[in-house]
Symmetry: C2
């Protein structure tokens, strides 16, 4: 049963490019993981929106996503240090 993962991000002023770079690194890794279907990053068209980034991703199951997310945390934070 495919599942939709929705993350909302409140990004501090001036940190948007960095946040997008982090998101792209995460996506690049997650896209290699079993169960990944697709993901899309949304940015507001209206000014002063509550969230500056919203990620909407689809996975084949929650069980496929959880380990992939854990591995991603290690991978992306590891390469960021």
């Amino acid at each position: 049963q495919p599942v939709t993962l929705i993350n909302v991000f409140e990004v501090p002023e001036g940190k948007l490019p960095e946040a997008i770079t982090y998101w792209e690194a995460s996506r690049a890794f997650l896209a290699t993981q079993p169960g990944f279907i697709r993901t899309r990053l949304h940015q507001p068209i209206a000014p002063n929106a509550r969230f500056q980034l919203i990620n909407v991703a689809e996975w084949e199951s929650p069980q496929a996503f959880q380990p992939a997310s854990a591995r991603m945390q290690q991978e992306v934070s590891g390469s960021a240090t």
Copy 2:
């Protein structure tokens, strides 16, 4: 240029059925409006999620959505009194 509309809802305890009924009435109306593509209502699978409902809709343009949303406000709130 199609646009994605994402609404997050913090629904008070016990009000979920009512909120879903309102959402369904809104969708039934919006689906008749020019520029409507599709919409999906998401409910969390994880306990104590921040949002109890998240609507993800797609429209042919922001210009198509705004008047439809205004008409919907009148239509749905009118029928609810």
